[in-house]
Amino acid sequence: MEEESASIEDAVVGRTLLRAALETLDDESAACLVLHYVAGERYGEIAARLNLSSEAVRKRVGRALAALRRVYAAMESEAAQ
């Protein structure tokens, strides 16, 4: 996947975001989060690695995104205060 130049600030925010989201997820969803959002693997690759169907991976990535968005919203509202 393409690499973009990332600022230190984004990296710190990204790490905080991942860490908080991972703590709220079941392990399969957490694994899907890391493999998809951090390692950049596609659904098919993750399915093969975790011995799951692509549909199951898609559902878990969806759960991972829901967790990430909840944390992101909490961080944004905290930053706004």
Binding site: V13, D27, E28, V38, L50, V61, A79
Partner: protein
């Protein structure tokens, strides 16, 4: 024509997180993708969620780029973390309280310890390392030398300082989209500034989408709202919490946005279209609010393809929860170019009828003198001005106003209104496109020359004139006063006429080069 896609697709469910996640990496099936595309076109909320999803992806990759840098540097940390993973992870219940400072509800049911061990074995070493590095707070906090912050929504490396004005050029170029042009700016305060415009198509045949940028005193941010085919030409903020922006969408159709509760919303349903038969096009060129309950717009209708296009005046009226924009006046053969609201009761328009410049004052009376009640009378008075045309007006009060314009043969004109009459004043060199007065006899005038340089920016204070340096191919596109002594100019270079690259600059009264009074006229 589908003018209000929001309404037509309102029944369609919003995109789920699963669909949003799949959309950004193109993992949706063809049918699902086209359904999602249709929904996104009409749903600002889902477009916002999509922008957030993309932003989260960027942040996660940023964390990874940091992990990449670290892993090579400190293998022993990685090994220790891996060992920790194997020992600890299976016995750590996922429903344990969040250790960080963020209270986030736990999600899902904790699987059994055996199942966990199995999952992490399947994940493999690569992702496990990335995961643990991502979670290793101490490591990264030490590396970056600062705690987490979430104020930035761009990948800019610009570090804002404490002076908002000095931050204005800041991260602008990272936020402005390619081929993004700016038409208008609105300053609420030095830490609350909006800029609007449109994204040109590669062949300059129209607009791809709106440009809506906000400056918060530190950084510029691009608003996530997307309206394909739309462009914004004017913006007027009532307060930090409310404002309006107008423009066009598609082929000459009206476009209107309302900012309220922190979001820009499609406000086209508040618009009453004129009933003129044969009306084909109507664009909303200029908007100015006097308050949250009163405002006016200049609209350009085209009755038929051969017809002369006059300008219609739209009036905004809000009473309780009810609000509407209605066409109130259309002057035969008058082409209005600018407007300036003085109060709920008074607004001025300038323009021309044929080769004669004119200014029109509209006064509005309300039942019981209450602007939230009914309009009981309107009175329009016309003033002929000795000029070919006027292009800008700035009203400070009912007894202190300025109108400016001119033409490229005779040069600029500038008139002052004292409450009784308009009087010509010494004037800047070429025609004036914008006048922005900030105090008595004090303000800014600028000139933009379309598709070439040679624009200028002058400040005037008590008949003294100052000039501010612009490169020979630069021109001021638009501008607004930030404080009584500072001016935000959007400056564009016309080195490449097919690729506008507007930039914001801040000019300070008193720092310019003095000019003779009146400034000499130099033919462009």
């Amino acid at each position: 024509m589908n003018k209000h896609p929001e309404i037509l697709t309102a029944q369609a469910p919003h995109l789920s997180d699963e669909q949003l996640a799949a959309w950004v990496v193109d993992e949706l099936s063809g049918d699902e993708r086209s359904a999602a595309q249709r929904h996104l076109a009409g749903c600002a909320a889902c477009r916002g969620a999509l922008a957030e999803t993309q932003r989260i992806g960027t942040l996660a990759r940023a964390a990874r780029s940091m992990a990449d840098r670290v892993s090579g540097a400190d293998i022993s940390v990685v090994q220790r973390v891996l060992a920790q993973l194997n020992d600890e992870k299976p016995t750590t219940p996922s429903s344990e309280p969040v250790r960080g400072e963020l209270a986030v509800p736990a999600y899902g049911v904790a699987p059994t310890a055996n199942r966990r061990r199995d999952v992490w074995r399947r994940v493999g070493a690569l992702a496990a390392v990335l995961l643990l590095i991502a979670m290793s707070a101490l490591l990264f906090t030490r590396l970056s030398g600062r705690g987490p912050a979430v104020t930035s929504t761009s990948t800019s490396t610009f570090t804002p300082g404490s002076d908002p004005l000095a931050n204005i050029p800041g991260n602008w170029s990272q936020v402005l989209p390619e081929r993004g042009g700016i038409s208008d700016v609105a300053v609420v305060s030095p830490t609350d500034i909006w800029a609007v415009g449109g994204i040109g198509t590669p062949n300059n045949s129209g607009s791809q989408d709106i440009v809506l940028l906000h400056f918060d005193g530190k950084l510029w941010h691009r608003s996530p709202e997307s309206f394909p085919g739309a462009s914004l030409s004017s913006i007027s903020m009532v307060s930090a919490n409310e404002g309006w922006a107008s423009g066009a969408i598609g082929v000459g159709q009206p476009f209107l946005l309302h900012y309220i509760n922190g979001h820009w919303r499609d406000a086209r349903t508040s618009l009453t279209l004129p009933t003129t038969s044969g009306l084909k096009y109507l664009t909303l060129d200029k908007i100015q609010m006097a308050s949250a309950t009163s405002g006016w717009m200049l609209a350009s209708p085209v009755v038929n393809q051969t017809g002369v296009s006059p300008t219609d005046i739209y009036e905004y009226h809000k009473s309780g929860d009810e609000y509407r924009w209605e066409p109130i006046l259309s002057f035969d053969g008058v082409n209005f170019t600018a407007l300036a609201a003085v109060s709920n009761h008074e607004v001025w328009f300038v323009g021309s009828r044929g080769p004669h410049a004119l200014a029109i004052r509209l006064t509005v009376g309300y039942l019981n003198n209450d602007p939230q009640s009914y309009v009981i009378n309107r009175d329009a008075r016309e003033f002929d001005m000795d000029a070919l045309g006027l292009s800008s007006i700035s009203m400070r009060s009912p007894t202190d106003g300025w109108a400016a314009g001119g033409d490229d043969v005779n040069g600029g004109v500038l008139f002052h209104w004292d409450g009784q009459k308009w009087t010509p004043r010494p004037v800047a060199q070429a025609e004036i496109d914008g006048v922005v007065m900030t105090a008595e006899n004090t303000g800014w005038v600028y000139n933009r020359v379309y598709n070439q340089g040679a624009g200028y920016l002058y400040a005037t204070a008590d008949n003294q004139w100052l000039s501010y340096p612009l490169a020979s191919d630069e021109t001021v596109v638009t501008g607004a006063a930030i404080t009584p002594t500072t001016f935000l100019a959007i400056v564009d270079s016309f080195k490449d006429p097919h690729n506008v690259v507007p930039v914001p600059r801040v000019y300070t009264m008193g720092q310019g080069t003095p000019l003779p009074t009146p400034p000499p006229y130099v033919a462009p």
